[in-house]
């Protein structure tokens, strides 16, 4: 109950960010489906985003990064979208050429 | 609201039992206020869907030279949808053997939740909003885009090829239409300088010439683009490809029955109202009537800024707000009716034609209008709007009609930002800004 009665601090956010980050890393490491790996990357990026936003939030800390945190988060989101599009295109091309989406089979680059 | 509940209702109640009054920011008030808001908004969606489905039947009936429902619940078949709802509840809830059961069961709720969440930021009248999000437009557009998610899930999880086609079509269509829709929505934002729907609504107060629709020719054109895109993004005919009953049987909800099926419908009608309401706020003055009966110009009943800031309650102000709410709902329902009218008139487009409409017509038109509106503002060309909005406020004040400061906080803040920045010497002051 201690958790509930205390105001949220930056480190609360950082822990959540860490969980997302680690989940993403594990996801990237264990998934054999290329799209699963892609989802892991999204999780990692989001973990980072949470940190940026937390550091930039005036609500959590009075001497915060200010707007820079939010701006970085925005850049990350936008770039993640672009990255997803490119990665998806690669995955689909891989699928077309190999009739598989298993990244374990992706070790030959002959296409 | 929370303060009101705490300080007025609960404290009065407690007073009868000689218990100490609660502080204005007591949690109980917040919870109750939240509950009241939720229940209100749920009713807008759920009862709205009931009414709209009834209306759709009546409208389509009249369009098609027949009567529509006439029996259940009196002369006009008022209760037809309710009867149907009861029927749907009692129907067997079937999950196909091929379906991904978890996702299949969740999908309708995802759709409904997305549609419902949009109402969080939709103001029904001046200040009557679930939560005033300062980027409300953006929020609603994002949420409307979320609804597609439930549809895709339903399409995939049904384990039926027709459903899958429906889901894929929906995904392609909605993702594409978000682009022009975003552009169209930006235009009122550019004109008002705020993403806050309440601010945008407030700025259009006064006579109907102040509606953004009439701001300039580009804004006028862009409304039609917006309405087209909105129709497409909520999946209404002629863009209802995801369900396309003559091609895909019923598309993404082919395999659904009973209550789950009805959730999709609630979501659909909820979204229809949502985008129509957004259109009303963005282009048609929101809750402001064509003639400002309650405004300072005529009866002067509406709340003043000071009153809003202080949270005072006054009957006149309340009535003005109520009238605004009626006004707003009227406008939104008109939008919904037009969508119905279109649905029962036009044949359905083909998927590639839908894409063409989006990419070849809506996007370029939206872009041109965007540039046009920016140019219009920059050149300070004449506009029936009587405003570059904040100036209009000022001019009204100068004419001595009202003596209150610029009411829109967001505007004031932004003006301040610009002023400071100008001081910093980094940006030229934009045309139309106050110095």
């Amino acid at each position: 109950m201690d958790l509930l009665t205390q105001p949220v601090s930056v480190s609360h956010y950082l822990v959540v960010g860490a969980v997302l980050f680690v989940c993403g890393v594990v996801c990237m490491a264990t998934k054999r489906n290329a799209l699963g790996v892609l989802m892991g990357i999204e999780l990692v990026l989001n973990g980072a985003n949470l940190n940026f936003v937390a550091f930039g939030s005036r609500i959590l800390r009075s001497d915060s990064l200010g707007m820079d945190g939010q701006l970085m988060a925005l850049f990350v989101i936008v770039l993640a979208a672009a990255e997803a599009a490119v990665a998806l295109a690669i995955a689909l091309n891989f699928y077309n050429n190999h009739a598989s989406i298993d990244v374990d089979h992706a070790d030959d680059l002959k296409g | 609201m929370a303060e009101f509940i705490n300080s007025r209702l609960i404290s009065t109640l407690l007073g009868w039992f000689n218990v100490d009054a609660l502080p204005a920011d007591h949690w109980l008030g917040f919870v109750l206020a939240g509950l009241v808001h939720t229940v209100l908004v749920i009713h807008v969606v759920a009862v709205g869907a009931l009414v709209f489905i009834w209306m759709e039947r009546k409208v389509s009936g009249r369009i098609q030279d027949r009567l529509g429902p006439t029996r259940v619940g009196g002369k006009f078949g008022w209760l037809q949808t309710l009867a149907d709802g009861l029927k749907l509840i009692t129907k067997e809830d079937i999950t196909p053997a091929n379906a991904d059961a978890l996702l299949f069961k969740l999908a309708p709720y995802v759709s409904f939740a997305a549609s419902f969440a949009g109402y969080l930021a939709l103001p029904f009248s001046d200040g009557w909003v679930g939560h005033q999000v300062n980027c409300g437009i953006f929020f609603i557009i994002a949420i409307v885009g979320m609804e597609v998610f439930g549809v895709i899930l339903a399409g995939y999880a049904s384990g039926s090829k027709w459903s899958l086609f429906g889901g894929m079509r929906e995904a392609a269509q909605v993702v594409s239409y978000e682009v022009p829709m975003g552009m169209c929505v930006l235009i009122p934002v550019v004109i008002c300088g705020s993403m806050d729907l309440i601010t945008i609504g407030q700025m259009q107060a006064g006579f109907f010439t102040n509606w953004i629709l009439f701001h300039d020719p580009f804004a006028f054109v862009v409304f039609w683009v917006y309405f087209t895109c909105a129709t497409a993004s909520v999946n209404r005919a002629p863009f209802d490809l995801a369900e396309a009953e003559s091609e895909l049987v019923a598309g993404f909800h082919t395999e659904y029955s009973g209550l789950r099926w009805s959730f999709f419908f609630m979501a659909e009608y909820g979204s229809m109202f949502l985008v129509s309401g957004l259109a009303a706020i963005l282009f048609f003055g929101g809750w402001n009537g064509p003639i400002p009966i309650f405004g300072p110009e005529i009866l002067n009943l509406a709340y003043t800024d000071a009153e809003i800031a202080a949270g005072t309650f006054r009957l006149g102000g309340y009535i003005a707000n109520l009238a605004g709410c009626v006004n707003f709902i009227g406008k939104a329902v008109t939008g919904v009716t037009v969508m119905m009218w279109i649905r029962w008139t036009l044949p359905r487009l083909r998927i590639d034609q839908v894409m063409t409409t989006c990419l070849k017509y809506c996007v370029p038109l939206g872009a041109v209008c965007f540039v046009g509106v920016v140019g219009w503002q920059w050149a300070q060309l004449w506009s029936p709007n009587d405003l570059h909005p904040q100036q209009a406020r000022i001019s009204v004040r100068e004419r001595g009609l009202i003596d209150r400061p610029v009411r829109t906080e967001g505007m004031a803040r932004r003006a301040e930002v610009v002023k400071k920045a100008a001081w910093a010497g980094s940006v030229p002051v934009q045309a139309g800004e106050t110095r």
């Binding site: 949220v8 890393v25 892991g40 985003n49 701006l71 | 895709i152």
Partner: protein, 208 residues
Amino acid sequence: MMLLAAIQWHTFFFLLFSLLTCGFALAVVFSSNVVRMAFFLTISLGAAAGLFFLAGAEFVGAMQFMIYVGGTLVLLIFGVMLTAHERFISMKTKAGEWVMAAFLGGGLFLLLVRATLMVPQWNAPNLQRDQVAQSEVHDSAAIGAAVSAYRADSLPSSSAPPAAAVPAGKSVYLLPFEIVSVHLLVVLIGAGYLARAKKRNPGNAWQA
């Protein structure tokens, strides 16, 4: 009653959203069905958007909804459906990989949390946050302004003239913003290039 009265509602919602975020992130990791993974990821990221809202970054939250949840994930699911062969829907991971990943992940997590908790400033909640929230310029217009040229949140006070390399009040984000825009354009063109129809000789593999 006492307990309820003591609850910080901001914290309550934070916990709610963070539980959703973390729970569904874990579900993503442990699910082997790729479509369900995508669905869990959506909820996880949606809840993360809620956390953004709670931190006062409303614009970023809405952005997260629109681009991540509405765009990127729909794209992902699209990809999932295009490759939705039965054998790719569920792909099991070998036990050895799980062990490896558990070690790696666990170590990483401990490291991160330790690092987090080591800085006392980060642990201290902001007790004046109500006042801060009032004065904070979190209008989306300010973000727009910051992206393009100037900053509303770090204007110099009149007493202290700017001395840094980047003058206070000015924003350094114009160039990155432009780069991102060009990048997006390139991606758009690339996507169009990939999806275009190619003419090939008649009687190709299509008929087989």
